[in-house]
Symmetry: none
Subunit: 230 residues, 2 copies
DNA sequence: TCTGGGTGTAAAAAGATCGTAAAAATGGAG
DNA sequence: CTCCATTTTTACGATCTTTTTACACCCAGA
């Protein structure tokens, strides 16, 4: 996942424990020992989640909570030794997204972090390749040319995909063949390629007879040019 | 505020306690004593939040949790006597938004309810999909075409649901089969698909012979097109 | 001008996949 | 047990892809 998590706690051993565990779960961690520093870091780094200890030396943790909430909706999980119900209610009503009492189980905290992150779940951007007037949406398996969808057969699509993911680079006959016709022995290979390159050109080139997208490198292979070149 | 809250708990005295307290705070309450009834109520009433006891007589509470999560993003606060960490992690990772252990303080629960409601306050997520002239109400399990209800068998519905929740995207044969025929081995799979895609087309396409909703991507799978495309 | 490797189109044959109807099996309700 | 809706299986023709075959091309170099 790799979300950035800001740890605001004055006890070094707690910070270390959190840091190690979080990093073991694939998160990136930033640390702050004081409320003041925590607020600054929250503004600078823009973490995806904040773990906030209420028992800070320089200021009341709830103060830090309120200050961060003035401009940010980042999920904040409050972690504290105080177990009084009043404190929980206060923190939750002042913007905390969860409240965990020390000592807490690490796996529970991790689950609560996942839950909090889920609330702001904006699914990661889909990989969309853009090469000139060509758009290739790998997740949706959609190819568009000037916004118009282009119908491709599986082999055509695979071929275009491998060239697009290596756009600007020359792909040798052998490389293309092995990527598209997986695990078949190289026989009439470059003839297949010629046929399918032909199909592709007919479908995505303005003028298939004079291709300016799929360039042939004689004796070597083919190359999908990226727009800056002509 | 007046949010509707569904209470799913088999103990009448707990339900009463929750009902009285919640109503005192201005909430509207609905009650269910069993998991089965809870799931039905969740679909019928569309509560703004659900309080779910895991210790239900008729079914495992986590089962109910998962079922509701299939079509709804309503906040669910799990309330239970079980205090084991494993259970907490499991529930949180399966869609619960919070986990409170009995006995709990009422004011804390109220604060956690307010926090949970805050999360969905600014993202009204209707569990109703609209794709062209097709309307799919995931909560009520109702499909309409031009306002006319469409009768679907369970398998047909599951198939349409998985395609609709991934509208615009190509679903491979394998993906569709695993979603709809859960945990069966891939054998005559794509044949089942052909048959059921045929059924669906007959029921939702204007002209089943020339489908413009469920289009087949030969060699790959099927795609439910979203209206902007033709 | 002829020759030959590498290349580009077209269209055929071969092969795989797809759509439909309808029969057989399954399973739940009464 | 019987009925009925649904699912699974069977069968076959239609359609789409891939592979194969055929031939024209361009451009060196002899």
């Amino acid at each position: 996942m790799g979300a950035k998590i800001l740890i605001v706690d004055d006890e070094p051993q707690i910070r270390k424990l959190l840091r190690v565990t979080l990093q073991a779960h694939g998160f990136t961690t930033i640390e702050a020992a004081t409320g003041q520093d925590g607020i600054i870091q929250a503004g600078m780094i823009r973490p995806d989640l904040i773990i906030l200890d209420l028992g800070l030396p320089d200021m009341d943790g709830t103060k830090a909570l309120s200050q961060i909430r003035e401009w940010s909706v980042v999920p904040i999980i409050v972690v504290t030794v105080r177990d009084d119900e009043e404190g929980k209610v206060y923190a939750l009503d002042h913007g905390a997204d969860d409240y965990v009492t020390k000592p807490f189980g690490m796996s529970e905290l991790m689950a609560r972090i996942r839950t909090a992150l889920r609330h702001v779940a904006n699914q990661p951007d889909e990989p969309v390749l853009k090469i000139g007037k060509l758009t290739i949406d790998l997740a949706r398996r959609i190819v568009e040319r000037d916004g118009q969808p282009v119908r491709l057969t599986p082999t055509e699509y695979d071929l275009l995909k491998t060239m697009a993911t290596n756009a600007g680079r020359v792909m040798t006959h052998r490389q293309l063949f092995q990527q598209v016709w997986k695990g078949q022995n190289y026989e009439t290979a470059d003839h297949y390629l010629r046929v399918y390159i032909g199909h592709l050109r007919k479908k995505i080139e303005d003028n298939p007879a004079q291709p300016n997208l799929i360039i042939t490198e004689p004796g070597v292979g083919y190359r999908l040019v990226i727009p800056s070149e002509s």
